[in-house]
Symmetry: C2
Subunit: 405 residues, 2 copies
């Protein structure tokens, strides 16, 4: 077959443990096909293409290349950038210049729902100006909130870290006779997928006592009542809350306390997130010992405990994107569907990007039990996603990372 | 040889990843010797002995027994309890009752400097009342602040987690073009050993930009000046601070802001630790984006990334304690000394407990560079301690833990 041209791959949105695994898949598969000559990385997502800031990824040394699969964050740099909906915007002109300059015929964008908006607009633009370039989205987000896919690469590793950390925290906080409430804050401003992952600690007999997702209106009085009952009964209480828990008016709980001057608990300053705020309320109202723990960035960058299944699927999403681009597909995102049957497996296919961009998949209400627990159906769904351990390469006691820039 | 009697082992103080490894070593070695018939666990440290709350550990099933080495926290429960210095206190009477009831001739206590106070008093008491019982301390603390030992079991695993997490955080926070200051808070109220561990991220090229230990008086103006310079130059700044950083008057920085009403930055309420407080100061004074991350309990319970060397040495400390107790030693703690030569190795010996109890080993001032960095000598010292990865057993994607209670 003839050489068709070159390809660009970019990474966008919040980092995950496996966005570089998808990059690995793209590069690995691209190098198998003569239609693709050079593989360029667009630095800091679409910005690199706009600003003609590309690096050549065609000849990475083998060791650094393999390490991509265990490197967190986004080795090409990421960006949060929204293309104008008007194609007369100069960004498009600059992108087209870069495309022409480097004879780009394939563009792959690894990202979440905001990034899929870029895929949508760019593929539409190429079609409108009749520039022959396949534009394909590769899913990635720890939030698991992309629609039309069973789950997203990045989610499995995030909940593997979360579930193991919660299990370890429960072991730790159980060792004293003294009672204590521990409130763990987990990422997810709108969707509760990550916080639900804490439930998997039950596989070790270490389930949290209470789990609060943003999908359920947070009732402070009921929360305090439950905490108090559990504390009186068990002395140790482990609560997992989403950073995005909201009151019945849809207002973030954390803002509620910062700006509500009628509430005497706080000054004008917020020094932390939802767990920190609730810790203070528990201390004030119930006068019991309480500690806040924010899993913070660790939940999206702890490559050392990434899920083997997640890495494997992220690589496959990248490979599949290449194959489908060569199959003349464009304006699509790679999605995963679960195979029927008892044994876990997924198959890969494409969905029109305009169906996915800017949409949010919320945690199913039927998997939420009594407003503060998660059902077994979720465990069945999530367990395969944290399965298998990736055999990370260590040197000097440290997980090794790719350095390509 | 004749049966001499039974033994008690207890765990005390803050949990670590390897306190159960030392328990493993105690049990494993004890079972080899006919002089020791039964091995009892004292639940919640010395409290279990005072209250006659023991469990028989002689016949743990093999699977649960092996899992001890990868179980964080303290499976026997821990305690912070200080025995009275007056031997006429009823605690001693109750301890003696328990000792006599169960024919206890060996008592092993795994703990830090506070716990060694218990070993000291208890061994002195036994000698005074002429009750024949060997009382031996087995070191344990993530803080690495016990004197007369090269390092403490627990420290290596804690800094392996810290160094890897810092390295991952630096990868994560480097992926955007936008600048940001990230302040990571690490445990250690008096000694900076754990915070110094963040320096090991340099092995991945991901060293923190600034490192502040409690051993150096914290100068806020200089801190802000350095942050600002680094931010203007590199846009990304990663700072690691100890929770215990103190001003030139020896007052915790975090208290400084909470109670100092002249300082307009905060209300009357403290919602977080030192990183949270400094984050707010940076925001207010420099008006640059800043985020606080507290590694929190994870740094002492993340068994999934425990150091293989640490587990190995913790086991050996437990085994060595048994051997020496059978050798008629009492009132001593097991210590490790580094072997001479290029290849890392330690040998085990005993030190008199009264030399160790209640003492603190601070981070050496000669290893602190320019008040906010750590020297290569520390790296040479610490690197072997994080070496080797322990092959944790997983099930369903989760690190498995012993359940013995």
């Amino acid at each position: 077959m003839m050489v068709k041209g070159n390809c660009i791959v970019g990474q966008s949105g919040g980092p995950t443990c496996v966005i570089n695994s998808s990059l690995y898949g793209v590069i690995k598969e691209a190098k198998k096909h003569f239609e693709i000559q050079k593989i360029y990385g667009s630095l800091n997502g679409i910005q690199g293409t706009i600003q003609d800031n590309l690096i050549d990824l065609t000849h990475l040394d083998p060791e650094n290349f393999e390490l991509l699969k265990q490197t967190p964050s986004a080795v090409l740099g990421s960006v949060r950038y929204c293309l104008n909906k008007n194609f007369s915007d100069t960004d498009y002109e600059k992108i087209l210049q870069t495309f022409k300059k480097y004879n780009i015929r394939f563009f792959f964008y690894i990202g979440g729902n905001d990034s899929m908006d870029t895929v949508y607009k760019l593929s539409s633009f190429c079609q409108q100006v009749q520039y022959d370039c396949a534009v394909i989205g590769i899913p990635k987000t720890i939030d698991n909130d992309l629609i039309l896919t069973d789950h997203t690469p990045g989610y499995g590793s995030a909940i593997k870290f979360i579930a193991n950390s919660i299990s370890e925290i429960k072991e730790d906080t159980s060792c004293y006779c003294n009672g204590r409430v521990t409130i763990v804050e987990i990422m997810g401003r709108d969707a509760g997928w990550l916080t639900a992952g804490s439930k998997l600690a039950c596989l070790n007999g270490n389930a949290p006592d209470l789990i609060y997702l943003p999908e359920v209106a947070f009732d402070l009085d009921d929360f305090l009542k439950k905490i108090n009952e559990l504390y009186q009964k068990n002395r140790k209480v482990l609560v997992c809350i989403s950073e995005g828990i909201k009151n019945q008016h849809g207002k973030y709980v954390v803002n509620d306390f910062v700006y509500n001057n009628d509430n005497d608990v706080f000054g004008h300053m917020q020094l932390g997130g939802a767990a920190s705020v609730l810790t203070h309320v528990v201390k004030e109202k119930l006068n019991i010992p309480v500690r806040a723990i924010e899993l913070n960035l660790l939940q999206r960058c702890s490559s050392h405990i990434a899920s083997g299944v997640d890495i494997h699927e992220a690589v496959h999403c990248g490979e599949y994107a290449i194959k489908q681009a060569l199959n003349n597909q464009t304006g699509k995102m790679v999605v995963m569907s679960r195979k029927k049957g008892n044994r876990y497996g997924v198959y890969y296919h494409l969905k029109d990007i305009q169906l996915i961009a800017n949409q949010t998949k919320f945690f199913p209400s039927e998997w939420i039990v009594n407003q503060c627990d998660i059902s077994d159906q979720y465990i069945d769904y999530a367990l395969p996603l944290i399965s298998k351990e990736y055999p990370c390469k260590y040197k000097n006691g440290m997980v090794q990372f790719t350095k390509i820039k």
